[in-house]
Symmetry: D2
Subunit: 387 residues, 4 copies
């Protein structure tokens, strides 16, 4: 095992913090890497809770001020797992302090914040300080394979993209007004939370960027019970109610710079769809399809095969030949959601340890933000059906 | 068997004509109905070909002028299976001559033609002359079941509709310029041909109408080899080329009058998707999904079941309890595409014989036309992604 | 259309009779064949019922004595659709009278009867009189494709076969004692009715014959309500009860003469499986899988493809390149259960009209009977688990 | 977090050792338990390799003699991850030394060894020393849910079980003669390695025990290249060849003590099936089906629902209501193969810490061994098909 150490401090310890911790604990147990991550400290505002989280999640220390974390000499990496409204402040401060930064997605709540982060990242990069945004689904082996097959020309020019990210965790009108439903904390609703994932993922696998959009956003339930205390996705209902200030669903059509056309839909109201990130790409010579609820599989249609044998192949992406999987279990033994983070840390550690820029960059993440912004503005473009 | 006879004359004998003929031949062999269809004559312009088609498809006579067909006393029903550019003329003339009319979809190539047809149908209706448009997929048992479950409130208020109709029969740039790729014959491309089906089907199953749209249309291959002779979907390539004047793909977002939001996509460039009409509807209390390539199945998510047992149920729609299926085979024995036409004729015969109006009406079909028109106009509404 | 006529007389008009009638009516409408079937007469014991069936199903005449049918000069083909106990008598008499015979499966209720039928068929064959047994599933396009791919060596030597035919139509103990549950009428239960299908189908697709077996049969419900009148699969419950004298389920292991090993299971008690004939074949270089509930699909695993791209391909068997399908609808438009009979009649007509022997022969069907017999005898071979 | 500590020593560090290590590292990070596992030492014969494994997998110490491990005072639990030929010796010695024992499956290579282990476990149990056998698939949440639904009577009396465990990792004749292909090391081939899993799993979920069997075993490739060094499932080919002394595939039919009949198949030659442990159970009132390649899903057919709505429900077993999953991620976020071991450790720790007997017991595991033995003996029971 490598003797080089990357000392990590993490800010935030809810859902994302737990997922990142599992990855930091596991990554060097599975992958041979040029550096070893050590889990130095976790930061949260509530002293008792963050101490409990540190013990539970495996962090050596707990602190309550992220500025303190950034000021320490014994930390090389700041891992930002807080809600989007604090990303810019923490990430920029960390980069300026010479810390490598891994920032959860979406990069920020506004385009302006994202632009400031990009500027900070560019400046830091010149000094050898690295940054990346945590679009972890790029590291699902099947998504990585999808990217590789398209990049290798296996389906030819891409014509169609159709992407949905469907959940149903707030269909109940009594589900409370957690931070993810408040614009000032979360920036947007389904659009930024899960829509951002499919924007990044489809741009990643196709190698094309979205240039224009038209669509809509919708808030089905406009008032919800307040919560006194809530973290992450779970919450217990309170008594008074408050306004939902983000979208429940966002739907849009897009054109990509390589000539493809696309449909996108992000919703938290798709009853029965729990975590259905589904992406299909149709090319001149073939097609690919992925579903996060079956993340160990990739469907591949190869239109260059003999006509009578053409079909959608369900590739079980669990072989040593597949991305990341040589380090895990024998063929056919599936992995889970959390492995995408372990792979993210694997690639981040490798890049930082070898002096390379990890991906996706803050620039990549800004481009996602610009698309989100265009979708929000497109609400006005509407054609009525005549009667 | 009933002694009442419905004497049918059919115009057109290509793909749709063959499908309708199979249905007219079969319908009284399977269903107990108040009237019996007799296949009196088929009409086409080429004398030799229409004679061969009559013999092959089971029509007693062949004629070459549809006006002659309409003029005959021994014909009660005119079944219009021609390309869209002749629908209005034939259907209006037939209605005026007191013939019941079954007209293939889309109702017409333009809104103006469709409005004229509606006027003719309304006038005829007052005289007991019936008319319907052949959106045959309403008669797929699983689609009918989907409609019934939504109408019965099993999924509550509908929130989301997502519908695609994906084919790939013209991805080859050498595929020739058949009539379906010419605006003057076909009106539009994927939009009117297959997009019309998903517009009608989703409005039918949800009971909601589309009020506004925004989207795009795209023609990927703008020039194709000419054909001297081609009918239906198949054609052999010629030498010179001509302009493709219809869309290869149409994508749009819609709002429905019951509060639902929707995405639609129709394409002939979705490599590997042969006849993938897929519709999913999410409601407050459940969801339903259908795929024409597996038309004997309906997926149903019932969110009122115990939490630990909720899941997407694959209902094999082949039981006596399911729409239309009591007349066919024992449970588990699947039916095919052509059966949707047999069911269409079944319902048409029953309505006409009992003096009722068959569905979908010309008015229903006009509304589809209005949506197609709005989509075509929406191409302009576009928001650029900032850089 | 051909001027040669094959004049058909059918014995029996229940479930199988209806399915055969649909096929006889349709076959020349879809396929170009050297002869044209004409539906001369149907035979049944109840005069009123058979007359109604003739009118409904499209037979020109109805008769009540099969001997009369065989004696007529204006009939070329006898189609035997009765329960198994009368197959031998009718088929042998017909062959001796110089009629071509198409006999439903299983060929007979006993090995002795089947041997007598084979002798009669051999004798008739020498005089140009043809015979075949109606294992219709050989004519499902996906099954035919499966056969062709194995015969072409696409999966190499076959190692494993696993076949089930699962239904659930008698799980209710109140379902009455129809003829299919009586040994004297049906010969056996699930074993001969549906087990026969998977024995024939697997031997057909692999080109290997079963040489030895070990297994069991089971009757879960041993007493059932009597029915005064019942035909086919449906029946209404009576009051008194009688003994079920056939198996509800049969399970066996087999060795095939090409070195493959196999598992078989036929059951009418597999709750939720309506018509689940599923066959998987694993070879050295690939595998194939089929499911009758999705009969338009064939799954193909090609182990000679690049390792990272290997997967189970779902071939939608609806293309012009696929067996039988050039005559039907455009790509992606699925067919149903009944089409297997239309294809059976297609192949039978072609063989008879061109003086060839149709398949499967009575000899092929006898071999199935011999396997059924061995399974019934294997019940005794049992090893107790020590305690 | 609990202050009670369970100090673990593990013997073996190949595939199973790595999987167990991942589970020991993770279990207290995810679950609230009455004791905390500490990874004291790992044992292997090769000093350098075991030291590297300890560092990689997270064990504080590495030792080369398992007797030394057992002799230490600072170890409470011995986790046996070696090949089957050493299970009995290590486990019995550990139990006699007062150590709790978790032993990988199959319990032993022979019935005699298994009986001796049961005797040792019974004696130890009287002294409060615990033991369990590592049939980890019982701890897959979907399998646990399957067990719970059957135990709750949701499908009524069980009629049918069909279970396969299909892999294809040795279809290549050049794959070398690793220890898993040698009888003296592995006891048997597919039968004991993967067949044991489906025997245990089906007995677990149904609550019924196998009382009799008939079947066969087969070795397709009888000679393979030798390997000088090989561990686990992977190996590099050598030059000389040796005899394969275990089965490549085992197929059998069984009767269970509750009246169910069953088919079982275990094979390493099912091309395209990587880790296809599939179990279906049909009961009077419903059915359940599971596939390890999609281990986050359970299929449930509830025959008590309205007839027109019955179908196979795909339950995504990722909700807080499902076994084990409240401690992991939000709904819809899938877990992997390795989580079954984390759950196994969870249940083992809880049982040991609270003075209860963990399951499955050595007695349960002996019963599996007795079935394996009966299958091996049943090879002789064979009925030839007459000619």
């Amino acid at each position: 095992m490598s003797s080089q150490e990357l000392r990590v401090g993490m800010v935030g310890y809810a859902f994302m913090g737990a997922a990142h911790s599992q990855a930091w604990r596991t990554v060097n147990r599975v992958f041979d890497l040029p550096a070893r991550a050590s889990m130095v400290a976790v930061c949260g505002r509530d002293e008792a809770k963050v101490a409990a989280a540190a013990a539970r999640l495996g962090w050596a220390e707990a602190v309550t001020d992220w500025r303190e974390l950034i000021a320490r000499d014994d930390i090389d990496v700041i891992d930002v797992c807080t809600p989007g409204d604090s990303h810019a402040e923490i990430a920029i401060a960390a980069l300026e302090a010479g810390k490598h930064v891994l920032c959860e997605k979406p990069l920020a709540n506004t385009v302006d914040e994202a632009r400031a982060m990009v500027a900070a990242a560019a400046k830091a990069r010149a000094a050898g300080v690295r940054s990346a945004c945590g679009f972890n689904y790029r590291r699902v082996p099947a998504v990585s394979l999808m990217h590789n097959l398209i990049a290798a020309g296996r389906i030819g020019a891409v014509r169609h993209v159709r992407a949905v990210y469907l959940q149903d965790w707030i269909t109940d009108p009594q589900f409370p007004l957690v931070w993810r439903l408040q614009k000032e904390k979360a920036g947007s609703g389904a659009l930024g939370d899960i829509g951002a994932h499919i924007i990044d993922l489809t741009q990643f696998v196709t190698g094309q960027r979205i240039t224009g959009v038209t669509g809509l956003t919708e808030t089905f339930i406009k008032e919800r019970p307040l919560v006194s205390d809530s973290s992450g996705l779970s919450a217990s209902a309170g008594h008074a109610t408050g306004e939902v200030t983000v979208d429940d669903a966002a739907l849009f059509i897009a054109r990509l710079d390589g000539g493809a056309v696309a449909t996108y839909e992000a919703s938290r109201f798709a009853t029965g769809r729990k975590n259905a990130l589904r992406v299909e790409v149709n090319g001149e010579n073939g097609s690919l399809a992925f579903d996060l609820e079956r993340l160990n599989e990739l469907e591949f249609y190869d239109a260059t095969r003999p006509a009578a044998e053409q079909g959608w192949s369900r590739i079980l992406v669990t072989e040593g030949e597949h991305p990341y999987l040589g380090a895990w279990w024998p063929p056919g033994h599936i992995i889970g959601y959390e492995h995408s983070f372990t792979h993210e840390m694997r690639d981040f550690i490798e890049a930082v340890a070898t002096g390379a820029d990890p991906t996706p960059s803050f620039e990549d993440a800004l481009q996602v933000q610009l698309v989100l912004d265009a979708v929000a503005r497109s609400d006005a473009s509407w054609v009525s059906v005549a009667t």
